[in-house]
Symmetry: C2
Subunit: 366 residues, 2 copies
C-alpha cells in the first residue's frame, strides 16, 4: 500500500531495515526492567554521537522543533536577553520561540544562503551580554554550514550559554559538543540519523545544567521541563513517572544509533562528504547554480536553482511519480525557484546521486 | 530480544498486530501525495472516535501530556482564571500546567479515589467565572470515572470553556464530545486505542477555536500552537510546513483507529465494561478491596488494595518475571499499598482476567 520512495528531500531520509524491524517489536512498559537498560544504552549512544560526556543527554518526546523549544524554554527566563543568528527558517523559529518564552531577542541577520558572520555574532554577544546565544549549525532551509567552533570558544568564559541547532548536522558532519565547548544542542531523528521523525535528541552540558538548577522561575513548559524529564530518564532520578515514554520510537532510535556507530562516526561523515560533493559537482556540470555560500555548503543538504521557466513544483511531482524520488521545494526566500536535495544517512549513496543526475540531465537536455 | 508481555498496567496496553505492521511500513515524506490522504483519513477516524464534527481534530506530535499542555496553553492567556478538578495525579498536573501558562488556578479538590463533586465544581465556576474549566474524565492514578456531561451542559451558555482529559477514557468508555457540548479534549494513544505511546489526539470545538483565533497574546508554546499546526494538518491551511510530522507513529494511529472502528465503538465500550467488571468482581471475591468510589469505577482501570504485609513491588516483579504480566503500582497517595490494573484496548480480554485472577488466587492462598 505504501510505495517505496527515495527520500532525497530535507528529511525524513530513508530508514535502514534494522530500524523498521525495531519499530515493530512488541511493546514493553516504560518501567519494564527489560526496557530501562535499552533506554540507558540509547542515551550512551547519543553521547557518543554528540561527542559529549554529559549525563543530561536524552531524546525529547517530540520532533526536532520540540527539541528546539526544549533547549530555549529550559535555558531562558522572562526578561533574559537572547542573541540568535537568523539566516533562514530555523534561526527565525529560534527567535520566535525565545520571544514566546519571554526573552528580549536580538537577531544577528544574514542573507539566506550566507553564513552568519561569527565576528558580528560575537560583537552582538559582547554588546547585549545575553543569557543565551544560539546558532543554527546546519540551516535546513538553505544548505548553509555555519562555523560554530570559534564562537563556542569565545563564549566559553563569558556568562553567555551557547547552544546550537544540530537537527540536520548530527551524524552527517562533525559535531563535537564537548570538544568545542557547546553548552546545549538539539537534533532530530529523521535527518542524518535515518530514524523516522518523532524524537529530538538533546544535550545540556554542565553550565547549562547549572543554569536549569538555579532558575528563578519554573520552566514555562511542563512537558519539556528537563528537571522533570530527568527524574525518569536518568537512573539517578529514581525512574519516577513524568510522561509515558514513546517506546516504539525509542526502539527505533536505539537501533538507528546502533547502525550509525557500527558504520563509525568518522566513516559516516566521510560518506556524506563524498556523496554530497559528487551531487554538487554533478549539478554544476549540468549548469545549475548552487545557492549556498561557497566554502559553507553542507554535503547532506544542497540548495540548487532551477532554470528560468521551469515549473519546479511540476518537476518535483514528476520526479516522484515517474522515479519515486522525493526532493524538497525551497522555503521562504527560495520558494518557487529552488530545490533542496538531501543526502542524509541511509539515503546518501552514490547510486542515488547517479539516478537523480541522470534524470535531471535528460530533462534539461529535452 | 524483546519479551512478550501482557500489559495490564495503566498504559501502554498491548498493540494489535495490524498496528505493529503499520509501524514498520516504509517512510513517506510528510508532504507526499500518498501520505496526505492517510493523514486526512486518520483525522476523520479521530472525529468518529471523539464523536465530534469539529475540523480542529488531530494528533499532537507528543505523548498524552503534550496533549494536556496543548489544550491548556492554547486556551489560556496570562492572568486568565482556570478552575480544575483535582482528585489525582492528572488533575494536579493540569493545575501545574495552567499555572505555568500564567493562569490564576482554582482547584476543586476531592480525596483520591472519589469523584470531584459536580455541584462543587460548578459552584467554583460560578464564583470565579474562569476562562477555562477542566475535569479529568478518567483519572489514571485512581481509576475514578468522573461524570462530566452535566457539567458540560451547565457551562455551555457561560463564558467558560469546558475541557476534559480523555487520555484513559477514549475508546474504552463513552466519550461524546459534541453530544455533551465539550469545548476541547485530549487523549493518548497507548491506552484504550492500543497504539504505542507517542501521539496525543486533541479536539477543539467551535467556541474553543474562536477563543484561539481571538487571543490577545501568542500561545506560549510555538510547538503546540494550534494555529501553526493547522496550517499543515488541515488541507485548508495550505499544507504549510510547521514541524515534520511523525510519519511512522501516524501510520500506527491510523491503523489502530481502523481496528477500533472495525470492532465498532459501542461494541468496544461494551467489551471494556464486561471484562472490567469481571476483573473487579473477581478481585472482590478474592477479598481484595477496590479503591475507587463505588458507582464511579472505570472498567478499564482498576485500583485495588493489597493485604497488609504484602510487598507490592516484589509481587509486581514476580508477576512480570514468572508470568509476563505487567501491572502498575500506586501513585501518590496510593504508592506502596495498591495496584493499578489496566484492561485497555487489545489487553481487555476474559483470558487475561482469568490468568491474573488465577495467579493472585494462588498467591493469596499460599
Amino acid at each position: 500500500m505504501i510505495p517505496d520512495r527515495i527520500l532525497m528531500g530535507p528529511g525524513p531520509s530513508n530508514v535502514a531495515p534494522d530500524v523498521l524491524a525495531a519499530l515493530s517489536q512488541p511493546l514493553l512498559g516504560h518501567l519494564d526492567p527489560e526496557f530501562l537498560p535499552l533506554l540507558d544504552e540509547l542515551n550512551d549512544r547519543l553521547r557518543q554521537v554528540f561527542r559529549t560526556a554529559s549525563p543530561v543527554t536524552f531524546p525529547v518526546s517530540g520532533t526536532g522543533s520540540a527539541g528546539l523549544e526544549c533547549v530555549v524554554v529550559n535555558l531562558v527566563e522572562p526578561g533574559d536577553r537572547v542573541v540568535v543568528g537568523v539566516n533562514g527558517v530555523f534561526g527565525g523559529r529560534l527567535a520566535e520561540v525565545a520571544r514566546r518564552a519571554g526573552a528580549e531577542v536580538h537577531a544577528v541577520e544574514a542573507d539566506w544562503g550566507r553564513i552568519v558572520d561569527p565576528e558580528a555574532f560575537l560583537a552582538a554577544c559582547r554588546e547585549h551580554r545575553p543569557a543565551l546565544a544560539v546558532l543554527v549549525h546546519a540551516e535546513t532551509s538553505t544548505g548553509v554550514w555555519q562555523p560554530v567552533a570559534e564562537v563556542a570558544a569565545a563564549l566559553r568564559d563569558s556568562e553567555t550559554l551557547f547552544a546550537i541547532d544540530c537537527v540536520t548536522s548530527l551524524g552527517g558532519v562533525e559535531v563535537d559538543i564537548d570538544g568545542w565547548g557547546v553548552d546545549a544542542a538539539y537534533s532530530g531523528t529523521q535527518k542524518c540519523l535515518s530514524v523516522p521523525p518523532g524524537l529530538a535528541p538533546v544535550t545540556f552540558g554542565p553550565r547549562a545544567t547549572e543554569r536549569i538548577r538555579s532558575r528563578r522561575t519554573p520552566c514555562r513548559s511542563w512537558y519539556l521541563d528537563v528537571t522533570g524529564i530527568l527524574e525518569y530518564v536518568s537512573a539517578e532520578g529514581g525512574r519516577k513517572y513524568h510522561h509515558t515514554a514513546p517506546i516504539s520510537m525509542l526502539y527505533a532510535l536505539h537501533a538507528g544509533l546502533g547502525v550509525v556507530l557500527e558504520e563509525g562516526l568518522d566513516a559516516r561523515i566521510a560518506r556524506h562528504e563524498r556523496v554530497g560533493r559528487m551531487l554538487q559537482e554533478g549539478l554544476e556540470a549540468l549548469g545549475l547554480p548552487l545557492l549556498a555560500q561557497e566554502g559553507h555548503r553542507l554535503p547532506q543538504l544542497t540548495t540548487v536553482g532551477l532554470p528560468d521557466g521551469v515549473d519546479e513544483a511540476a518537476w518535483r511531482r514528476r520526479l516522484l511519480d515517474e522515479h519515486g524520488i522525493e526532493v524538497g521545494g525551497g522555503l521562504g526566500a527560495l520558494a518557487g525557484r529552488a530545490w533542496r536535495i538531501g543526502l542524509m544517512g541511509h539515503t546518501a549513496t552514490e547510486a542515488n546521486v547517479r539516478k537523480l543526475l541522470a534524470v535531471l540531465g535528460e530533462w534539461l537536455d529535452g
